[in-house]
Amino acid sequence: MAVSHAARAAPTDFLAEVLAATPGGDPRLDRCIQCGTCGGSCPSAADMDHTPRQLFALIFAGMRDEVLRSNTFWYCVSCYFCTVRCPQEVHITDIMYALKRLAIREGLYRESGAAEAPAFAETYIDYVENYGRSFELGLATRHHLRHHPLGAIKKVAFGMELWRKGRIDLTPKRIKNMAQLSAILNKAKELEAADGRGGGA
Amino acid sequence: MSTNGAKPKLAMYWAASCGGCEIATLNIGEHLLTVDQVFDLAFFPCIADFKVSDLEAYADGSIDLCLFNGAIRSAENEHMAHLLRRKAKILVAFGSCAYEGCIPALANLTSRQAILRTVYLENPSPDNPAGVLPQTITKVPEGELTLPAFYHTVKALDQVVDVDYYVPGCPPESEQIWAVLQTVVAALSEGAPLPPKGSIVGAGQAAVCDECPLARHEKRIPRFYRPYEIVPKPGLCLLEQGLVCLGPATLSGCGALCPQVGMGCRGCYGPLPGVVDQGARMLTALASVIDVSGKPGDDEEALARRVEEAVSTLVDPAGTFYYFSMAHSLLRRARVQDDGQGERHDATDHH
């Protein structure tokens, strides 16, 4: 397929960028032998525009934009099947996380089919950063009101059902030492920004 | 050899030592009478009042035999070594200190300044608010007071003067001493041949194990123990029980006294002749039989960690392996910083 030269970074650079953005020891991506075990194992492969394997091939080819525009990693459910099955012990799930972060940093995810995922994540961590705990009701409602006002009705019904069964709070809980948590998270973000490794830690 | 019928002259001097060598010498018992018959005591400050001036008065080479014990730790020691070398026909490095540094040379693991500080400042006993340290020259109204310089590195006798023979041991065994004296006497009186210069005399041929009655087998040591940690099984080689014993690396001649009472050999008779660095020999021997191995495909870091664990049960290798031979070891001393922070570095410091 025709790829404009501009879209193609020097192969090794992008691979290096991805590796650097993946913490937790050597992610071993450079060992990939393109066997497809990941793509074969993935429960949501059907929804992905590229199978993980293809995505890796694109990374090796240095096709940065195409990779970061892909919806593949947004459909990753982090079930770790690919990771434990990979014959080369590539940390695939972690790489998917890394790609999500890079895509967000580059603002490219919006073009991917799964524009909502990051939004949902944002709403989620909003609560975590303000309360220290997640908050299902707020999470679900706020997220859905924002992104599908219509679908939200259904969601609210679901929420009500949860509430009826005593499975949901109407108000979020806040941890005691929120100040400490905020300090930690802010410092962490600062470090991450300074580091400029696409959040590779 | 001895001129005009006059009795040959014997000298015995102590440098940095504990006096144990003299006591061992006097322990030869009734043989002392023979010694007295055969020799003129020319210089023996430990048992009679001799002055250095007396010694200086002798013609060079006029003393037939000098037993020099003690290490060279100060300028005075070295001065006396040179003096006695001049005066004596046969100079013997007598006992472990003179031979290879012995306990005094363990000071080489730290620095002169650390020692002076410990002794004159940090000890509970001294009352030294001004923090005065000994100086070679101190001016006082009456004039100048002098002290011999205190060396940073303790040396063996043969590291400052030429030595004819070595008698190992801390102290040397009395019967060995007597045997040595007999050879010399034989040489002096009947002109019997002396052993070649540089020989170790008053010792055996092989290692201490040769004289050790404890049962020995193939060795596999999973970890080491310090003497207080276990009660050794009687009759069984201490090494095999994980107790450090320098017997295998130490010249025989003592009759393996220590191992027989359940105390590992400390190595006071020094290495076998021709062996460079007794400590290293013991180190390599012990390490070789540490019972940590692996199989193909083992994680190399994990393997290294297991080995490190096992060896780290051997506390203070330097002090253990160079108990007596520090001055004669290849490295001779520890490398310490100029500020005199000469504390010995605990082996567990490194990762």
Binding site: T93, F158, K165, R167, L181, A188, D195 | -
Partner: protein
């Protein structure tokens, strides 16, 4: 046995049934919990999708607090919390750089965490490893005879295999064995470690519903009366979204989804009231009604025909030799 307890956000409310039943059975197994003081959310799979270091710092705070409160043996009942806590500890150990950065961040909150100082395990893992099947068996007073259960592990309790893997990441059998000990009939459940859809319910519902359908279908194919889970997310997706699945695929599944702790409680003779029953979307009472007083007759093996070829020997799942 004393453990630190990290409930995680779900168990506070949505999975409160899990929390209550866990608290009810724990004392019978000699387990004593001390809840981690002022714990915070583990970030689920969301936080790490946006920021790496803050995500690890977020979890790092929990670990640091645990160490500070001398809770060196932590238990997390939620698979996602468990994996986040355990993974952060391991990655900090494997990646000194990460460890340094996380600790720099923690320092801003006056905290520090030394990798390896806290061992985090899943509640189920603790029951298997520390309590043991014998001790569980000793507690059973009302065996769950006749109840056909599909043992559902989900992904995160067996994957990724953080040291030491306590069961097979593809085909674990410890939950099967536990349920057998409780007297239930465990059906073969090939998809026992497949994904429940996770947070896809929020992002791409269609994707999630298909994953849920696969699980429900397989359980039904093997005539299970119910699915037993170890994880709040799995329970919510399979139970709460079952109606949605039926609408979406025109199916008619009515498969209760319970926590293993709830079944333990029943087998231990505890009243359903203390086990958080009544909060399910799919009513389990019909299924539970099947529980009989008598052990079912062992299903007879039909003799293989004389032409049939022998099958390879497999290890017995009760841990014994084949």
């Amino acid at each position: 046995m004393k453990y630190g307890y990290y409930p995680g956000c779900s168990l506070e409310r949505n999975a409160i049934a899990y929390h209550e039943s866990a608290m009810a059975v724990a004392p019978l197994l000699g387990i004593e919990f001390t809840e981690l003081e002022d714990w915070n959310c583990c970030g689920a799979t969301e936080y790490i999708s946006l920021h790496a270091l803050p995500a690890y710092a977020l979890v790092g705070r929990n670990l640091a607090l645990a160490a500070q409160q001398q809770l060196n043996r932590m238990v997390a009942p939620c698979s996602a919390c468990f994996i986040n806590l355990a993974k952060t500890d391991k990655y900090m150990a494997d990646d000194p750089r990460l460890a340094r950065l996380v600790n720099e961040a923690l320092a801003a909150g006056g905290l520090h965490y030394k990798p390896g100082s806290v061992r985090v395990r899943h509640l189920f893992q603790v029951i298997v490893e520390d309590v043991g099947f014998e001790a569980v068996a000793a507690r059973v007073v009302k065996p769950l005879y006749n109840l056909r259960v599909a043992p559902y592990y989900g992904c995160l309790i067996v994957r990724p295999t953080l040291q030491p893997p306590f069961d097979d990441p593809e085909y674990p059998t410890s939950l099967d064995r536990l349920l057998r000990v409780l007297g239930a009939k465990v059906v073969d459940f090939p998809v026992k470690t497949h994904c429940c859809g996770g947070h896809m319910t929020q992002i791409s519902e269609a994707t999630a519903l298909e994953l849920i359908r696969r699980l429900l279908k397989n359980a039904v194919d093997y005539q299970a009366d119910m699915i037993v889970t170890l994880c709040p997310m799995c329970q919510l997706n399979l139970d709460g979204y079952q109606e949605e699945v039926n609408k979406h695929f025109g199916t008619d599944y009515r498969l209760p989804v319970l926590y293993f702790t709830q079944l333990m409680g029943l087998a231990f003779g505890l009243p359903p009231g203390v086990l958080g029953f009544g909060r399910e979307f799919v009513d389990p009472t019909p299924a539970l009604a099947k529980i009989g007083a008598e052990p079912p007759a062992p299903d007879k093996k039909e003799r293989p025909s004389k032409e049939a070829l022998p099958m390879p020997a497999m290890p017995r799942q009760d841990g014994g030799e084949p």
